[in-house]
């Protein structure tokens, strides 16, 4: 009985009138946790009741504390009939379980009803007393901190990065249970909300357990999603990166020392005492390069260990020899691991060995931005998709197994052959093999997603292949392939080089295998661009040149990645958002036929999306993409693909060639003329774009536009392998001459259309920039204007006989118009940048396309010169690094504590303008090295394709290892003391999808916000139609998020995202339903200016360890 939960119901306000006769309400409240329920007295005849109840006390296990939400129901007392429910509040108490988060939850919460929306507010006070629990069979993971933020949270440093954690839980969807036929929509919605809340709680707890077993104390880049599989069930899954975080101690703004100790039993030994000596020698001795570069269709070894699968693999298993061999080793090993995993709970002793293997199984990182020195090279984007058939509930073969009790997740058979788990594992294996092919041992910026239509499900995963510095990680965390031991043995010293911030990190001897491509220290501003793969065995047709920045290493001509741009990267000009958009019609079909059709379409879609991206990139005169996210959504009669990325000109990479149009067979003059007109238009556009984005490479190498080189095949002649001696640097420049143009052949009308659409992308209006990464490369001086927004549009295609072209145009216009609307809406903020523009497409019904966007508009100061900033930044950065190194004996600190705190890309400019200590900027990064990637051109596409498989499986399984934790609604605990906003005024809560707020410092993380809501209406017209309905719902969701954050004592949500927005309507019945899932990190921030004024912010005082012990 390790915990006592206490709740007090203070008052209500703005309650709805429940008694028409008196225009008043007789309200009382039920407070429920687990199976215990308390009630307040009835407060008669008032819309603003003052219950001021006693403290209701629940004595519970910490396991339950993690899984269950506190459920508060407000009712109207009715003497003669059943009491009417007014609405509910679910409070996630998880934040109260961590010593460093909040200490109390207190505030006004909107009372929410799934049919009526928000109906008044209730003031609640919640506290938790935890007792120490030394139970070694603990099922709970209280105290493990979760962050949605995909970088090391400011105000922490990462002592160790342990690696990938994943988990999923499955249940039947209450909406599809038989009982749903007889219960009210409200009851059904509430059952669903509660179930998902419980499942997320459980999921989080299980992941927490894994983290503890790995020796970590936090999960960063936590990404939780749910899949509504209809009749076949409900899956809640999550991935994240396990870390050991330490609170920065000496930061003036941070908590006093007392706060740092995670307190409690869960505290993990620091990396130095790493429990597993990691004998990676015993690890799977993967065949090295041979296999790596073969690029065999990965499918071949995708662990189809359970041969019983009813799996039809659509891709030919044409595995090459080497690939096959990998498969043999991979498959059985993994199965073994799984089993180990399952038993790990009981046998704690086994855990360490398990961790080792397990983590090395998937050297994936959900982080998108990294501490300096972490990222050495970037190889390029790797992705995999797979088409699966969901099992139907009537499938006789599975009929029995499905009927387990609600919430009884542990009852599933562990050896169930087909599980969602296995599906994902397959995909991850594939991703891993792609990364290897690129000479990389890790995948960063990793994410997973699904698209479901009826019984077909597309599983997608993508990330960026990379070479990381092993010193940051627990050994074994990386893929064995790269032989971490070799690297880690080397002294991790780096010499601070020139003042410019060129650091040389851990000099390394050249590895004969050349796998890492590290030899000479590379400057941080270009090191990550250097190729990690062996140029003799380039996995795809690439065009390599010597780095334009350091001239020492080879770089590809184009680089695509899913991560944020490293802060230290050298860029020329500003970046911009690029989108590739595509629709493909498909016939309606069922079952396997349908899945096959989809599988067949996917490769073409990926190819075209890629081509579009490449064209648009060239059209902007740029050479790299960051934050690439490709979404392919499936509908009954079409597939919709949307790729978004932020394009930049990396100084280290060669100037892109232009785009040349080649007519097919020049027949007549008008045609020629037409071609040359188009060519001219394209050239003009490129020239205009260069001006617009200030892309003026320092050394003008050649006139790109004027001299497109017609023969594309020419590339092959570049660079044979040389021994790479630095002498050759001089030779290098020659390569400029051969920059070849990207050739577009116009051989049919499609191509003409494509070119047209290429040219119709209108640039953002003057004063606007946009990007889908955290911040815009090239803008540093952010000011305080901030506006987070969500916009949703649904389009109905009314004409049945659309062509692909017609559809494409519609979809393209849709996205363009949406962007234009956003610019118009936000025009008062100019000059400003729309950051983290996150588009999500869906095909909710036959002829509907839904696009949802969440982003933040941030103002910046146009005039401030970025140079200052850079200078200052580099200096501080150096200083920070040096200091840290001394103090910590750890190579680098993940997070500098200099005033502006973030070493990562974000807020660069903030320090500058907000305060005198401008130099404190983030720029820290200078150390990285990395190489990057390639373009995943058609090659990788091919590879991906292979990933498609159809498989059918049953749903219910989970890879469960442990138990769950709850996480319904807000969370909290924290310093009441800071809340100046007592009384009636509502505290302002900022929301942003970014991990920081310009001009401020995050001084405390209060816990993760992960909320799920359903809203339904049977009076759609009366609520203003679908738009009115959704508008109100989204506003309500924002309101509930803000209220929970405020109740935790916070004043902002960072890394906010709307992960799900499922909208369904039935206008004929005047009905609509919508599900929304949002998440983020609740924080307290202070303005930099305030920080200077107040050396010891009030917050710090309270939070200490008192809670936990």
């Amino acid at each position: 009985m390790p915990g006592k939960l206490k709740a007090k119901i203070v008052a209500g306000r703005h309650l709805p009138v429940m008694d028409r006769a008196s225009d008043l309400t007789d309200a009382f409240v039920e407070v429920k946790f687990g199976n215990t329920t308390f009630k307040t007295d009835v407060y008669p005849k008032s819309l603003n009741p003052q219950w001021n109840s006693e403290w209701f006390k629940f004595e519970v296990d910490d396991e339950d504390l993690q899984d269950e939400p506190l459920q508060i129901t407000v009712l109207d007392h009715d003497t003669y009939s059943a009491n009417d429910a007014i609405g509910k509040v679910y409070i996630d108490i998880d934040p109260l379980l961590s010593s460093e988060a909040a200490t109390v939850i207190s505030g006004w919460f909107p009372i929410y009803d799934t049919i009526h929306g928000i109906r008044g507010e209730i003031n609640v006070l919640v506290k938790v007393d935890l007792f120490n629990d030394l139970n070694r069979f603990r099922q709970s993971s209280c105290g493990v901190k979760f962050f949605c933020t995909t970088s090391i949270p400011r105000c922490y440093r990462a002592a160790m990065v342990h690696g990938f954690v994943e988990e999923l839980v499955v249940n039947e969807d209450p909406e599809y249970q038989w009982i749903d036929r007889i219960r009210t929509p409200r009851a059904s919605n509430e059952a669903r909300q509660r179930l998902i809340s419980l499942m997320s709680g459980e999921l989080q707890r299980k992941i927490g357990l894994k983290v503890l077993e790995m020796g970590g104390n936090a999960v960063v880049g936590y990404l939780q999603c749910f899949d509504l599989e209809g009749e076949s069930g409900l899956v809640v899954r999550a991935i994240g990166t396990a870390c050991t975080l330490e609170k920065l101690s000496n930061s003036s703004a941070a908590a006093p020392p007392a706060c740092n100790s995670p307190s409690k039993d869960i505290k993990e030994p620091p990396f130095s005492e790493d429990p597993n000596p990691n004998t990676h020698s015993s690890g799977p001795s993967t065949p090295l390069k041979t296999q790596t570069y073969s690029f065999s269709p990965s499918k071949s070894y995708s662990r189809q260990s359970s041969s019983s699968d009813t799996d039809l693999s659509l891709t030919p298993k044409t595995g090459m020899g080497s690939g096959g061999s990998a498969g043999k080793e991979g498959g059985p090993l993994k199965t073994l691991l799984r089993q180990q995993t399952q038993s790990a709970l009981e046998q704690r002793g086994a855990s360490s060995s398990r961790i080792f293997v397990r983590t090395r199984e998937f050297p994936f990182f959900t982080l998108t931005s990294f501490p300096p020195g972490f990222l050495i090279h970037v190889g390029g984007v790797v992705s995999a998709r797979s088409v699966k058939l969901l099992d139907r509930i009537h499938n006789p073969a599975l009929g029995n197994t499905r009927s387990y009790k609600l919430l009884d997740w542990n009852s599933f058979a562990a050896d169930e052959p087909e599980t969602r788990d296995a599906w994902w594992e397959e995909i991850r294996q594939e991703i891993k093999s792609h990364a290897r092919a690129l000479g990389c041992h890790a995948v960063v910026g990793y994410s997973e997603s699904t698209s479901i239509c009826e019984e077909v499900c597309i599983l997608s995963a993508s990330g960026t292949a990379a070479v990381l510095h092993p010193k940051f990680m627990q050994e074994g965390c990386l893929d064995g392939y790269s032989d971490p031991s070799r690297l880690s043995r080397q002294p991790a010293t780096f010499s601070a080089g020139s003042e410019k911030g060129e650091f040389d990190i851990f000099p390394q001897s050249k590895d004969s295998s050349a796998a890492l491509g590290l030899e000479e220290p590379s400057p941080p501003s270009c090191g990550f661009c250097h190729i990690p793969y062996d140029e003799l065995n380039i996995p795809f047709p690439a065009h390599l040149t010597y780095c334009y920045h350091c001239r020492r290493q080879k770089v590809p001509d184009v680089l695509f990645t899913t991560i944020d741009m490293p802060a230290e990267a050298a860029v020329t000009g500003k970046g911009c958002l690029i989108q590739a958009r595509l629709c493909r019609l498909k016939k309606k079909a069922q079952g396997e036929v349908n899945a096959t059709a989809i599988s067949n379409l996917l490769p073409f879609m990926e190819y075209e999306l890629h081509t579009q991206l490449m064209n648009k990139l060239k059209l902007r005169g740029m050479n790299a993409l960051f934050g690439l996210r490709i979404q392919i959504s499936v509908g009954e009669n079409m597939l919709v693909g949307l790729a978004s990325a932020t394009a930049v000109y990396l100084t280290a990479l060669p100037t892109p060639g232009g785009i040349q149009i080649a007519g097919k067979t020049p027949s007549d003059i008008t045609y020629e003329q037409h071609i040359s007109n188009m060519q001219k238009k394209i050239n003009d556009t490129i020239a205009k774009n260069k001006e617009l984005y200030e892309v003026n490479p320092p050394e003008v190498i050649e006139e790109v536009i004027g001299s497109p080189i017609p023969e594309p095949r020419q590339r092959s002649r570049l660079f044979r392998s040389h021994s790479e001696s630095s002498d050759e640097v001089s030779e290098l420049d020659l390569s400029h001459g051969k920059k070849d143009a990207f050739v577009l052949e116009i051989d049919d009308t499609d191509a003409v259309e494509d070119i047209h659409s290429l040219l119709t992308d209108t640039p953002a209006p003057a004063g606007f920039y946009s990007c889908n990464t955290e911040i815009m490369p090239g803008i540093y001086n952010w000011t305080s204007g901030l506006q987070m927004f969500t916009s949703v549009r649904v389009f109905r295609l009314s004409n049945a006989n659309l062509t692909n072209q017609g559809l494409n145009k519609i979809f393209n216009d849709l996205c363009e118009n949406l962007l234009k609307s956003l610019y118009f809406k936000l025009r008062s903020m100019i000059p400003c940048c729309l950051c983290h523009l996150n588009f999500t497409v869906a095909v909710p019904e036959d002829e509907l396309i839904q696009v949802a966007v969440t982003a933040v508009a941030m103002t910046f100061d146009k005039d401030q010169a970025q140079e200052n900033w850079k200078l200052g930044a580099d200096k501080t950065h150096m200083k920070a690094i040096v200091e840290n190194e001394e103090q910590l004996q750890f190579p680098l600190e993940l997070c500098t504590e200099s005033p502006s705190t973030n070493p990562f890309s974000p807020c660069r400019g903030t320090g500058l303008q907000e305060s005198a200590n401008a130099h404190a900027t983030p720029r820290a990064a200078s150390v990285d090295y990395s190489s990057f990637a390639d373009r995943w051109s058609s090659w990788i596409e091919l590879i991906r394709l292979k990933a498609q498989t159809i498989r059918r499986g049953s749903i219910k399984t989970t890879s469960s290892l442990e138990k769950a934790s709850p996480l319904p609604e807000g969370r909290s605990r924290s310093l009441r003391s800071t809340r100046s906003y007592a009384g009636s005024t509502v505290a302002v809560v900022k929301m942003t999808p970014l991990s920081f707020i310009p001009g401020t410092r995050i001084i405390k993380y209060l816990g993760i916000i992960n909320m799920f809501f359903i809203r339904e209406t049977t009076s759609l017209r009366e609520e203003g139609g679908v738009s009115g309905f959704l508008h109100a719902f989204i506003a309500e969701v924002f309101a509930m998020v803000r209220a929970h954050v405020a109740a935790l004592g916070g004043n902002a949500v960072v890394s906010y995202s709307m992960k799900e927005c499922v909208f369904m309507e039935n206008p004929n019945k005047n009905q609509a339903q919508c599900l929304i899932n949002v998440s983020g990190d609740a924080v307290i921030f202070m303005r930099e200016s305030e920080l200077e004024a107040t050396p010891a912010p009030p917050q710090t005082s309270c939070s200490g360890g008192e809670v936990t012990t």
């Binding site: 306000r13 703005h14 006004w108 909107p110 928000i118 507010e121 209108t762 209006p765 506006q787 987070m788 927004f789 969500t790 916009s791 949703v792 549009r793 649904v794 389009f795 109905r796 295609l797 009314s798 004409n799 659309l802 017609g806 519609i810 216009d813 849709l814 118009n817 234009k820 609307s821 956003l822 610019y823 118009f824 809406k825 936000l826 025009r827 509907l848 839904q850 009636s984 005024t985 509502v986 302002v988 809560v989 900022k990 929301m991 203003g1024 679908v1026 738009s1027 009115g1028 959704l1030 508008h1031 109100a1032 989204i1034 506003a1035 309500e1036 924002f1038 309101a1039 803000r1042 209220a1043 909208f1063």
Partner: protein, 360 residues
């Protein structure tokens, strides 16, 4: 075209975005299409390279936002406490102030009328007559009625009550006080002869009446209402009748005034000839005020009994002021007249009102 239609289109900001111009269109009862047209004519399109579609989407969205806020605006104090929309305080103040603002043309039509369903039904006539959209008329009417209902029964200062409950600016709260006061006492303002008077003329008079003729006016200690006239005072006004019924007193009063004005005004002769008529007019108005029905005619009586005769004799405003000053003060010299206090309380207001109302 025609191949696609927007089924749903929403934009929600964490801070609610509101364009003041669009808000005004919404308040003025424009349809979305009309608002879009006017905005296009206003040149907003050039501002941000927008298209008509973009403008339409933006307008729809904002109209919807305003509609959702409307419920809160009905009780402005809720706006500050609600959680649904995050709106900075100065924007909240703007929203409220504009929502409660009204058109002079409209208010003149309903000033002094009972704020009842019947009146509301006639709003389409008002709309047709004033050119203000029916929707806007309804909003304004409902605002009057809402404010009226809330403060009707409250004790204390009318203006302060309105300010406190509706968070209005000082100026607007005063105007509402006038509207409530007129509605409560049902002053006739619609007669043709009163058409030349603006709302501001009446609002000025209302302030005079509220400050001088209500219970709260004389005794701040009495926590009474500002909306009702002081009954006792109205009773006492009967006593003033002696000024016209007592022939000696009437003559004496006249001669005092004439003495004072001789040579000081060009309309002396007309004044002298008309003195008794004018005086009877003013005193009779006072004497009748105890009847609620005659209270309603207060302004029309002032016009008919005093302003019109003067106007036809071409008195200037200066003449009026001079006359009323001496007319009031001379009474103090009449030894036999015992009601100086009531007289001053009455004439102070009447004089201010007439001066305000004496224009073209």
């Amino acid at each position: 075209m025609g191949k696609m239609s927007v089924e749903l289109d929403v934009f929600v900001g964490n801070t609610t975005i509101m364009d003041e111009e669009v808000y005004q269109f919404w308040l003025d009862g424009y349809t979305v299409a009309d608002a879009v047209r006017v905005r296009m004519e206003g040149g907003v399109l050039q501002e941000c390279e927008a298209s008509a579609e973009v403008l339409h989407s933006d307008t729809m969205d904002q109209f919807r936002t305003f509609q959702m806020c409307e419920r809160l605006l009905h009780c402005p104090s809720k706006l500050a406490n609600q959680l649904l929309f995050q709106i900075p305080p100065h924007r909240q103040a703007m929203l409220i102030e504009r929502y409660y603002a009204f058109d002079d043309a409209f208010v003149r039509e309903v000033l002094g009328k009972k704020l009842s369903k019947g009146t509301k039904k006639d709003l389409d006539d008002v709309s047709a007559k004033t050119g203000i959209t029916l929707k806007s008329c309804r909003r304004q009417f409902d605002n009057f009625k809402r404010v009226f209902k809330v403060v009707e029964e409250l004790k204390g200062s009318l203006v302060e009550n309105i300010q406190q409950h509706f968070l209005l600016s000082d100026k607007l709260a005063r105007d509402y006080a006038a509207i409530v006061f007129f509605a409560n006492n049902r002053f006739e303002t619609g007669k043709r002869k009163l058409q030349y008077l603006s709302f501001q003329d009446f609002a000025f008079c209302a302030v005079q009446l509220i400050n001088n003729w209500t219970v709260g006016a004389v005794d701040n200690m009495v926590e009474d209402m500002d909306v009702d006239l002081d009954k006792e005072f109205l009773q006492d006004l009967k006593d003033l009748k002696v000024l016209i019924t007592d022939k000696d007193m009437l003559d004496q009063h006249k001669s005092l005034v004439c003495t004072a004005l001789r040579g000081k005004t060009k309309v002396f002769n007309e004044m002298e000839a008309n003195f008794k008529n004018l005086s009877r007019g003013l005193v009779n108005i006072a004497a009748k005020l105890m009847n609620a029905k005659d209270v309603r005619d207060f302004f029309i009586d002032l016009v008919e009994k005093f302003i019109e005769p003067c106007r036809s004799d071409r008195w200037t405003a200066g003449d009026i002021k001079l006359f009323l000053t001496h007319y009031t003060n001379s009474v103090h010299i009449l030894d036999t007249f015992k009601h100086q206090v009531v007289w001053d309380r009455y004439m102070g207001v009447v004089k201010s009102c007439i001066l305000k109302m004496y224009h073209d």
